[in-house]
């Protein structure tokens, strides 16, 4: 496999950013990691994951859809779409790398979402294998191997060097663009590191969690479960879980009056919010119980029902770490599960 010494990472980043916009996870002042546009001197974060997931790059929190100019009774529609620039997201973890295939199933299904596709076409995902998974990790539950991430290309570290391999043509192009910095390397130590990582993954507290008893065929059984009341009773109805989730993709479309025109934009929305399904004449999800149920039913039942059994969760553990009241998909799965 091709490799580059870890102490030459700066050179690698410089080379990538010379031709394309590069985003890397980097440490913020408060200690949390965040994807930022690479600038000289920026260091790759050693944190396991960023607070915000990498979905931002393809499905940003807000984006302009279309502009309108209003003139008396007339309306002018202005298409504001522009071709995205080419960019590389470096250091995407296995869970986030998988999340893109889940988002693809929504946004690239007919009719294709051109806003998403535009960025997807221009973005190269360079994943990074995990070596230090945390207690909140349960990607294995969804068949993800943290030591062998997906993505257009993947990187692995053996502590000394960074090994890079391509998974598809886009990944190969990426490697070609930095070929001068890479040389062939021996992967025996890497294999040891990966084996060790896999051992740790097996020892994680959530390693035994399975999706065996979830899926599209359990729809009414779980929907009518009597556990929802207890599970949702302390839910604050905030959107933290939704907004840190790499696979949550619900959005709202809103208009903003700039004073000289209307901007129609879309933004992330959360099924946990009280107005999510509110209509002029009523709301089918009146209490937090229904909203809470919707989120987890979507991930564990509805999504697999519509997508050949694929679940709407990648086990990244962000909601486990960030929920203000520590209620999360793992607790829901354990409480709900009917064998």
């Amino acid at each position: 496999m091709l490799k580059i010494s870890l102490d030459k990472l700066d050179k690698l980043f410089e080379a990538i950013s010379a031709t394309k916009t590069l985003y890397i996870p980097t440490d913020r002042e408060d200690g949390a990691a965040e994807y930022r546009k690479y600038e000289s001197g920026m260091k790759l974060s050693s944190a396991l994951n960023t607070v915000r997931s990498a979905k931002d790059f393809f499905f940003p929190q807000t984006e302009n859809l279309v502009d309108f100019k209003m003139d008396g009774k007339n309306i002018e529609v202005i298409d504001v779409r522009e071709e995205s620039e080419d960019f590389v997201i470096f250091g995407v973890r296995a869970c986030d790398a998988r999340s893109f295939t889940i988002l693809d199933k929504v946004f690239l299904a007919e009719p294709v979402d051109s806003y998403y596709k535009n960025r997807r076409d221009h973005g190269t995902v360079v994943a990074m294998a995990c070596t230090r998974p945390a207690e909140t990790c349960f990607c294995g539950t969804f068949g993800i191997d943290a030591a062998a991430p997906e993505g257009d290309a993947a990187c692995y570290s053996d502590g000394e060097s960074l090994f890079i391999e391509a998974h598809n043509e886009k990944g190969q192009q990426f490697i070609d663009s930095i070929a001068s910095l890479l040389k062939d390397g021996d992967t025996s130590k890497l294999e040891e590191v990966r084996a060790k990582t896999r051992e740790i993954l097996k020892k994680l507290p959530l390693a035994k969690l399975t999706t065996d008893n979830f899926g599209g065929d359990k729809l009414n059984e779980y929907f009518n479960s009597d556990k929802w009341g207890e599970l949702s009773e302390s839910c604050l109805g905030c959107g933290t879980c939704t907004f840190v989730c790499p696979t949550c993709q619900c959005y709202d479309i809103k208009d903003f009056n700039t004073g000289h025109g209307i901007k129609r934009f879309r933004c992330w929305d959360s099924c946990m919010y009280s107005d999510f399904t509110k209509m002029a004449h009523g709301n089918p999800r009146l209490t937090q119980l229904e909203r809470f149920r919707q989120r987890f039913m979507h991930k564990l039942v509805y999504f697999p029902a519509n997508n050949n059994g694929e679940f709407g969760c990648v086990g990244c553990g962000r909601c486990l770490a960030k929920c203000p009241i520590s209620m999360n998909i793992v607790k829901v799965m354990k409480a709900l599960e009917v064998k």
Binding site: E34, Q61, R132, P133, L204, C238, C267, S274, A321, S326
Partner: protein
């Protein structure tokens, strides 16, 4: 303490004094504790927990819980009693339906601070003489207790319970806290520095509304930010202006009512020091209109609901501090 609380709760349930207990429920890990309602001794035995991670302020749940049938037992830490008292003042809780047992408070721990030390794979956390012994999948780790204390506890304002039906343990005192230090530090910066500081902080906001929804003072039936007719309803910070606006208005709506319980900062997934905005208002209110602690009593008028004829003029802002 946990044992004593469970016993107290069981006894009050058995005596028919209360029908339900609101407390904290054990999670998957050492730190992921969820506020919960318990209705039986079995449930209490099974999962009731009170330890270094039970930081959540349960007083806001009482807005809903106290309107249900029967009486609910609430274990309130000193800071929680301020929030509850403020809710009593605002007629948001039905006082008769709540039986309050005051319990000693923190300092409580912040799992994020442990993780920020690079300690991951946490399996258990033990406090041994104010050194945390942390068992992880990567081996044993340790760190000083006080380095993992929640920000809100590090600047604790009071160990005193301002409202309770019964007290467990010793009553504490109002503390001479250092809670305005950071506000003061910011005040002494230049406007540009302050602007840069807040831009850095507020640009992290993902508008998850956790700060609003957890806040015991935010109990409007319909928030202005959820009301499409308000003209300022917005779900996402589409522009830096909206980031600023949301946080100014959020803090302003609780100005004079915020007890400084620190929940907003605790729950922020992006670690924005939101309590600084609330403390700025508290500090200003103290300076301009006299010392005032929201929630300290259930009768006094909130500073923004009253006035004095000789109040300072608004332009005082232009005449003090650093430009």
């Amino acid at each position: 303490m946990q044992e004593a609380m469970i016993n107290k709760a069981k006894q009050l349930l058995a005596d028919g004094v209360v029908d339900r207990v609101i407390g904290w429920k054990r999670g998957e890990f050492a730190y992921d504790i969820t506020p919960a309602v318990f209705t039986s001794a079995e449930e209490l035995d099974e999962s009731f927990v009170y330890d270094d991670f039970t930081a959540a302020n349960v007083s806001k749940y009482l807005v809903k819980e106290s309107r249900k049938d029967g009486k609910v037992l609430a274990f309130l830490k000193p800071c929680d009693t301020y929030s509850f008292n403020q809710l009593v003042k605002e007629h948001r809780v039905v006082r008769e339906n709540v039986y309050i047992v005051g319990i000693p408070g923190g300092p409580k721990l912040d799992a994020e601070k442990i993780k920020a030390k690079g300690i991951t794979g946490i399996l258990s956390v033990k406090n041994e003489n104010y050194t945390l012994k942390i068992e992880t999948v990567y081996g044993e780790e340790s760190m000083p207790f006080y380095e993992a204390v929640l920000d809100k506890c590090a600047s604790c304002k009071s160990k005193k319970h301002v409202i309770y039906d019964e007290l467990m343990g010793e009553e504490g005192d109002v503390l001479d806290s250092n809670r305005f230090d950071m506000v003061e530090k910011l005040e002494n910066m230049t406007a540009q520095e302050r602007y840069d500081f807040w831009r850095e902080q507020l640009s992290k906001c993902i508008r998850c509304n956790a700060c609003r929804n957890v806040c015991p003072a935010c109990t409007c039936e319909k928030c202005v930010f959820d009301n499409p007719d308000s003209g300022i309803e917005n779900k996402a910070p589409a522009d830096s202006f909206e980031e600023n606006m949301f946080h100014i208005i959020r803090a302003f709506h609780v100005a004079g009512r915020c007890t400084d319980c620190g929940e907003c900062s605790r729950v922020c997934p992006q670690n924005i020091p939101l309590h600084l905005l609330n403390r700025k208002f508290i500090k200003d209110i103290n300076a301009f209109y006299g010392e005032y602690q929201a929630g300290e009593d259930a009768v006094s008028r909130a500073p923004l609901n009253e006035y004095k004829q000789n109040d300072c003029e608004a332009n005082i802002v232009h005449e003090r501090g650093v430009e």
